[in-house]
């Protein structure tokens, strides 16, 4: 019942601002528009750390984890653009930017970007995949201002003319030869996704088709840059020995003047349900046959993703796993077996591969894989087996968080793909909760023979088939 006492009608007493609100108020003094900062709360990152969330007026998301345990800072910039956002005929553009972004800006001559970073003692690199592209620098803590300034500069002022495009095109073509043309596993993985996806952008390779790489123009690059490289399509992650207020002020100074972009509605083409197995054969210059299988898998945000990851670990995780024991140890059919549940924003593949021993046919590998898969579809995992699998996954998740860079990568990945910067710890909890029923349901939901694609790799005669 509402109170009508006089006390309730008085103005509330002056209340002190929370420390974060006070910080933002100080930082926003005299600033307008894109440079104004908003505090969006904090998220626990495991038992020890906290991720503080901010956003600039131009849409740039800023995530900060202060960890003074070493005098370093890992600075990540995640863009919500990957190969899925490309169009047929221009595949590989997202990855191409991973190269162009280290080139020339209107403020930095060619070659200067890397040189300045290396002189500062920084480690820097970038990565591109289907849903995202990210750039990172690990720097001694006193060099953080330099990195903030340089990252903001290349977000807006990249020079994209013919010489820059031609130079990097050759490098990327060589990267493709290294990773695909002359690499059996790389080329088989490309074929697997091309065969499995007929509509969705997951069907083309992140590095792009060679003929597309050869056809990029400066106009293609400029259009892509204007569309996707904007503060409202990016998340900056800082982890390490960060002085929060000084770092945020520097971010406001560097990024505050950048304009946000009108991000396009993604013209996504969902993959229709697969109702019949697809199987292709390919001959490679290799001495041993192998097989790659892709079942239709869940999106990372799917309720059963963690459960299927548990199933995968039971099948492929370590030497005590079912597939390793059956194919490598007991039947001596394979030298190497692997499984991975895709961690994509849209439904991807649950990949399995087996590399055969000399003389073993790909069909024999596939049959043995099928027997192991049938085991987890027909009956629940054992209690001990489930415990073992959960323990392995928990250790694996923790191992990725040792360095500042490891934490920043996890924060950036989860924030970009699912919106939750602490998703890696949520993931550990989700895996702890998976029970035998969950695992059985996930296995039956996704390990459907009609909804899979298989690539059988034949040993090329020129490569010789026997030791």
């Amino acid at each position: 019942m509402p109170s009508t006492s006089p006390a309730a009608t008085r103005r509330p007493p002056p209340r002190a601002l929370s420390p974060r609100a006070a910080l933002v108020e100080r930082l926003n003094a005299g600033r307008e528009g894109g440079a104004r900062l908003a505090y969006e709360g904090s998220v626990a990152f495991g038992p020890v750390h906290t991720v503080e969330r901010f956003r600039l007026g131009n849409g740039l998301k800023i995530l900060v984890l202060v960890d003074p345990s070493a005098p370093v800072v890992s600075y990540h910039t995640w863009f919500a653009v990957g190969s899925r956002h490309e169009r047929p005929g221009k595949t590989g553009l997202a990855h191409f930017f991973e190269h162009l972004m280290f080139n020339e800006t209107s403020n930095l001559p060619a070659g200067t970007f890397d040189r300045k970073l290396e002189e500062a003692g920084a480690e820097s690199n970038a990565a591109t995949w289907v849903d995202w592209t990210y750039y990172y620098e690990n720097v001694p803590k006193d060099r953080l201002p330099l990195v903030i300034t340089m990252e903001a500069d290349r977000m807006a002022n990249l020079v994209l003319r013919q010489p820059q495009v031609d130079s990097e095109r050759e490098v990327v073509a060589n990267e493709r030869r290294l990773r695909v043309e002359d690499d059996v596993d790389g080329s088989v993985n490309e074929l697997l996704y091309r065969t499995a996806f007929g509509r969705h952008g997951y069907g083309w390779p992140t590095i792009g088709w060679m003929q597309d790489i050869e056809g990029y123009t400066p106009d293609d690059c400029a259009a892509f840059y204007r569309t996707y490289y904007a503060p409202n399509n990016a998340t900056v992650v800082m982890v390490g020995d960060v002085k929060l207020e000084a770092a945020l002020k520097r971010v406001q100074d560097a990024y505050g003047g950048l304009e946000s972009a009108a991000l396009p509605v993604e013209d996504v083409l969902p993959e229709p349900p697969q109702t019949a197995e697809r199987r292709v054969e390919v001959t490679k210059p290799t001495a041993t046959e192998r097989v790659a299988v892709g079942y239709r898998g869940p999106a990372l945000g799917d309720v059963d993703h963690a459960a299927l990851t548990v199933v995968n670990e039971a099948l492929f995780g370590g030497r005590s796993s079912r597939v390793h024991r059956a194919l490598v140890h007991e039947a001596e059919l394979a030298t190497d077996v692997r499984g991975w549940v895709g961690t994509f924003r849209d439904p991807g593949l649950y990949e399995m591969t087996a590399a055969g021993r000399p003389g073993v046919k790909a069909e024999a590998l596939l049959e043995a894989l099928d027997r192991a898969v049938a085991g987890v579809v027909q009956g629940a995992l054992g209690e001990d087996e489930l415990e073992r699998v959960r323990a392995r996954l928990e250790l694996g998740a923790l191992q990725g968080l040792e360095t500042s860079g490891g934490k920043a990568e996890q924060i950036g990945f989860w924030a970009t793909v699912t919106g939750d910067p602490a998703g890696s710890f949520g993931r550990i909890e989700a895996i702890r909760r998976v029970d035998r029923s969950d695992a059985l349901r996930a296995a039956r939901r996704f390990l459907v023979p009609e909804a899979r694609t298989s690539v059988l790799v034949r040993a090329g005669a020129a490569a010789g088939g026997q030791p």
Partner: protein
């Protein structure tokens, strides 16, 4: 036994590295691969458990056991969720001290390794590097492959494994590094428990003579069909940290090809786009190891790329580093050193490595100070003394019918040329 501990309570993980001073250089001639087979067989049945039961017992505790056999060191890595550290270390200790060395399991392991050797022929870069080492260290144990060869694996029997284990797996030969969610006393206690059941000694003597530079320039072409790209190494003997000029050569090598903006990368990738990567390296071991340059040009650019690299090497040998390069690389090495020591596991492994490889006192601790003190004269003298363009091995994987003649021409004056099939091992 030496024990090193670096606490870090941020994550609930405990890591132990157990290194024995024994590696592939201790393989008996004709039985290459024995050190690695011994290390791998250890976990395939021990303390009354079969191969699968050992794996399941370690996994159930949220623990991981890895093994790595290098030239002079066999390292077992153990990592576990902290709450299970006691049970895990006890289980690992039982495995280390009570291997069954079942003959049937050894047979499985050796057949598995044979399969891996055949599959490794798909790795062109690995093939090129093997070809380089075989030619560079001809007749020396550093030429050996730790995994062995198809022939040497077939010569290994259970008695060999038992004898090798008996000779080398003891406390005197062991170094233990502990890091993670432990304090100093707890770390030492876990280290002691890990090796408690091993015999006391003795330490394995180092069987390796100091490798000598191979005279002359040699080309090894590994012929493989359908290549669109070559994997190309140029190498010669490097240095050991105990050499007076080691750090000067390290600084000069970093200036030449150790960073993304170094001379080699600038000329090969940035100016010409010929290779995705272009690096020079100078790793360390218990004795002098290898100086290498690596590139991966498309077949159409391979000969020109080799010619360019040899020209760059000659110019470096003749003219040394520029003052600007030297100043730059000192900044780079000095400031980036923080990433060599930013985690407890890195710090503790530095201490273990210093002991295992016989590094001079203070090698890691005084690294930055000593890098900053390197002069241009010292750097240039180290390059002139240690690296001779007339004393090189060039090893590459490509399709010989398409490239052989052009590459041989680009290689300059050669003292030998060899063409190997890609299944040479």
């Amino acid at each position: 036994m030496k024990v090193y501990v670096e606490p870090n309570h941020e994550l609930p993980i405990v890591s132990l590295s157990l290194a024995f001073r024994v590696g592939s250089v201790c393989d008996p001639p004709g039985k290459e691969g024995l050190a690695r087979a011994t290390a791998r067989l250890l976990r395939r049945g021990a303390a009354g458990l079969g191969a699968f039961e050992v794996e399941a017992a370690l996994d159930a505790l949220g623990g991981e056991m890895t093994n790595d056999v290098g030239l002079s060191l066999t390292t077992f890595g153990f990592e576990v969720i902290a709450r299970n550290a006691d049970a895990f270390v006890d289980q690992a200790a039982a495995v280390l001290a009570g291997p069954a060395f079942d003959a049937g399991e050894l047979g499985r392991l050796l057949r598995e390794t044979e399969g891996e050797l055949v599959e490794a022929r798909d790795n062109d870069r690995g093939l090129a590097y093997r070809a380089l080492r075989r030619a560079l260290y001809e007749g020396h144990p550093y030429a050996r492959r730790s995994a062995g060869t198809l022939a040497s694996l077939r010569a290994i029997g259970r008695d060999d494994v038992v004898a090798f284990y008996g000779r080398h797996y003891n406390r005197a030969n062991a170094l233990v590094a502990v890091s993670g969610d432990v304090d100093e006393a707890r770390g030492r206690e876990l280290a002691e428990r890990l090796v408690a059941a091993l015999p006391a000694g003795p330490e394995t003597p180092d069987p390796v003579p100091e490798p000598a530079p191979r005279p002359g320039r040699h080309l090894v072409f590994v012929d493989k069909p359908e290549r669109t790209q070559t994997q190309l190494y140029v190498g010669s003997l490097g240095t050991h940290p105990a050499d007076d000029d080691h750090l000067a050569l390290h600084v000069a090598t970093t200036a030449f090809g150790g960073t993304f903006t170094a001379r080699l990368m600038r000329e090969v990738r940035s100016k010409r786009g010929w290779s995705y990567g272009a690096y020079a390296r100078l790793p360390i071991e218990r004795h002098r190891e290898t100086f290498t340059m690596w590139t991966a040009p498309a077949d159409k650019d391979a000969a020109a790329c080799l010619e360019l690299e040899l020209g760059l090497l000659a110019a470096w040998h003749e003219g040394g580093v520029t003052p600007r390069e030297l100043a730059f690389v000192k900044n780079y090495l000095g400031r980036s050193h923080v990433f060599e020591v930013d985690t407890a596991s890195k710090r503790v492994h530095q201490r273990l490595e210093a002991d295992a490889y016989g590094l001079p006192p203070g090698y890691h601790e005084r690294y930055v100070e000593r890098v900053k003190a390197v002069t241009k004269d010292e750097a240039d003298r180290a390059v002139r003394t240690r690296l001779d363009p007339a004393r090189l091995v060039i090893a590459l994987v490509g399709t010989h019918a398409a490239l052989g003649a052009a590459v041989e021409k680009a290689a300059g004056t050669l003292d030998s040329r060899t063409v190997l099939p890609f299944d040479f091992e």
